[in-house]
């Protein structure tokens, strides 16, 4: 169907800027119009790749969590909470995968995996510098590598203001 969703969003942005904005009188409404424009930009930038990105993220998260579960099981000494976490991750990863590419389904899976990741990262942070927790160090780094990759992607209004030089360094591969 044409115009497709992205083309339609761009059309809304164009109308907002070219037709509606010049008629806006109050500063508050003009400011709100700018915010709407930025929100649409944010949506337009992820529209085409949202499903693919979530699908890839979920695959990567499964890999990180699988390694995390193995590392948790390898820890010496009984720790009921960490054992339970390893079991929960194992059960979560072995659940029948939903083949749907609907974003809501992919996102639900992503949230489920992120909840495991959150618990795992907390365990890793609690183990920093502690004897016996050395197997979690590479897991911790793998988690942060993934989170950094996610945090630096896409479009953000920050990139043209306060984060301008920081994001330029990131995109140049300098950081």
């Amino acid at each position: 169907m044409r115009p497709n969703a992205l083309e339609a969003i761009r059309g809304v942005q164009g109308a907002l800027m070219g037709v509606i904005a010049p008629e806006l009188q109050s500063l508050f409404v003009q400011d709100t119009g700018q915010t709407v424009q930025m929100l649409l930009e944010s949506l337009a930038n992820e529209w085409d790749t949202a499903a693919e990105t979530l699908h890839n993220d979920n695959r990567r998260l499964s890999g990180v969590l699988s390694a995390a579960a193995a590392a948790l099981r390898s820890l010496k000494g009984p720790d009921d909470a960490l054992s339970a976490l390893a079991e929960d991750i194992g059960a979560g990863l072995s659940a029948e995968p939903d083949e749907s590419l609907a974003i809501s389904k992919l996102r639900a899976r992503n949230v489920q995996l992120l909840a495991f990741l959150e618990r795992t990262l907390e365990a890793c942070e609690d183990g920093v510098g502690e004897r016996g927790f050395e197997p979690l160090a590479p897991v911790r780094q793998a988690i942060y590598n993934h989170l950094r990759e996610v945090a630096g992607r896409g479009w953000s209004f920050w990139d043209v203001m306060s984060f301008r030089e920081r994001m330029a360094r990131l995109r140049a591969g300098l950081v």
Partner: protein, 338 residues
């Protein structure tokens, strides 16, 4: 309609005013935690015509953060009496009957701007940067030098000791994240643990912390004067390094480079602050507070996003901010060096 309601309120508050009329009501952009409106009031009193500009701050339908308007009013009133540049406060109204929601009214400071883009890029303000930077530091030093006990501000909650300031703030924001997150927050969860492992030295003294002291929250003019410090709703008693770090965090470096607030180099900021306060700026302590500052900002956005998603506000700003937490997470991980 709002204009008429404000007029009725002022007539009740100014019983000796004759022919009182409210005009030129307009909503000021920004102010995500409260609606901010400017208006003119004109009346006759003792045979004289009086014309005054006021600002109304009204509770929103939902906010980035559920903050206490009484705190903002009482603290601004107290610091105004000590010469800190803030608008003079007039009336605090907890009863929603007048304007549908609670509000307060203060003087309007005319001839000033707050917009960081104007401050940092318009030539008439660029030439005043060094003067504004100096005042930015001096006013912060003045706030940190106030005798909050003598001003009756201990109602804000006095930390049990100087070493408790940091842990109190970690707990406060951890509670917000736990309460308002709609999805997992691994970066923030990891950061809270990192913060507890990297506690700063005890506060050098317990001061009145503004807690939102930054470029974008003060009224300035082209003469290089700061005429008003705004947005006191997060103020509390705590570690002065919290304000030093908050002013320095990347989100408030609007120029996109490393300058604090887009105005001055970090070492210059520290030097002036140390000279003005006699306090020492400790790099590791500031790093701790910068991590917590970015976490705090993310937590505030999370609260706004929840309000939007649950339909308690229609503010698209809340939606936009909620979708832009990722860069704060990147900054948190940079600062944690992970």
């Amino acid at each position: 309609m709002l204009e008429a309601k404000i007029e009725a309120y002022l007539k009740a508050k100014l019983p000796t005013a004759e022919e009182l009329a409210v005009a030129n009501l307009w909503r000021i952009p920004g102010g995500a935690s409260r609606e901010t409106w400017a208006f003119d009031a004109r009346w006759r009193e003792g045979g004289q015509e009086v014309v005054r500009g006021f600002v109304l701050r009204r509770d929103p339908d939902a906010s980035l953060l559920e903050t206490e308007r009484d705190v903002e009013f009482r603290v601004m009133d107290a610091v105004w009496s000590q010469g800190v540049p803030v608008p003079k406060m007039h009336w605090l109204e907890r009863d929603g009957a007048w304007l549908e929601r609670p509000f307060f009214i203060m003087d309007r400071v005319d001839g000033c701007e707050t917009n960081p883009q104007k401050l940092l890029f318009e030539p008439r303000f660029v030439q005043a940067h060094s003067r504004i930077a100096r005042q930015f530091v001096d006013i912060l030093a003045k706030i940190h030098g106030l005798d909050w006990g003598a001003l009756g501000l201990d109602f804000l909650g006095v930390p049990a000791s100087r070493k408790d300031c940091a842990e109190m703030e970690i707990a406060r924001w951890e509670d917000v994240v736990a309460r308002d997150s709609l999805e997992p927050q691994p970066v923030l969860r990891g950061a809270f643990r990192w913060l507890r492992r990297h506690l700063p030295p005890p506060a050098q003294r317990i001061v009145l912390v503004h807690a939102d002291y930054r470029t974008g929250n003060f009224l300035f003019n082209a003469e290089g004067e700061i005429k008003g410090v705004l947005d006191w709703e997060l103020t509390h008693l705590g570690d002065p390094m919290e304000d030093v770090a908050w002013a320095s965090i990347r989100p408030w470096r609007w120029a996109g480079d490393e300058r604090v607030g887009g105005l001055m180099q970090r070492q210059e900021f520290y030097r002036m602050y140390q000279e003005a306060t006699g306090l020492t700026v400790n790099d590791e302590a500031v790093r701790f507070w910068e991590v917590l500052g970015n976490v705090k900002l993310a937590a505030i956005f999370i609260t706004g996003a929840r309000s939007f998603c649950e339909g308690r506000t229609g503010s698209v700003m809340m939606a936009l901010l909620g979708r832009n937490i990722s860069r704060l997470e990147l900054e948190i991980m940079d600062l944690m060096e992970v």
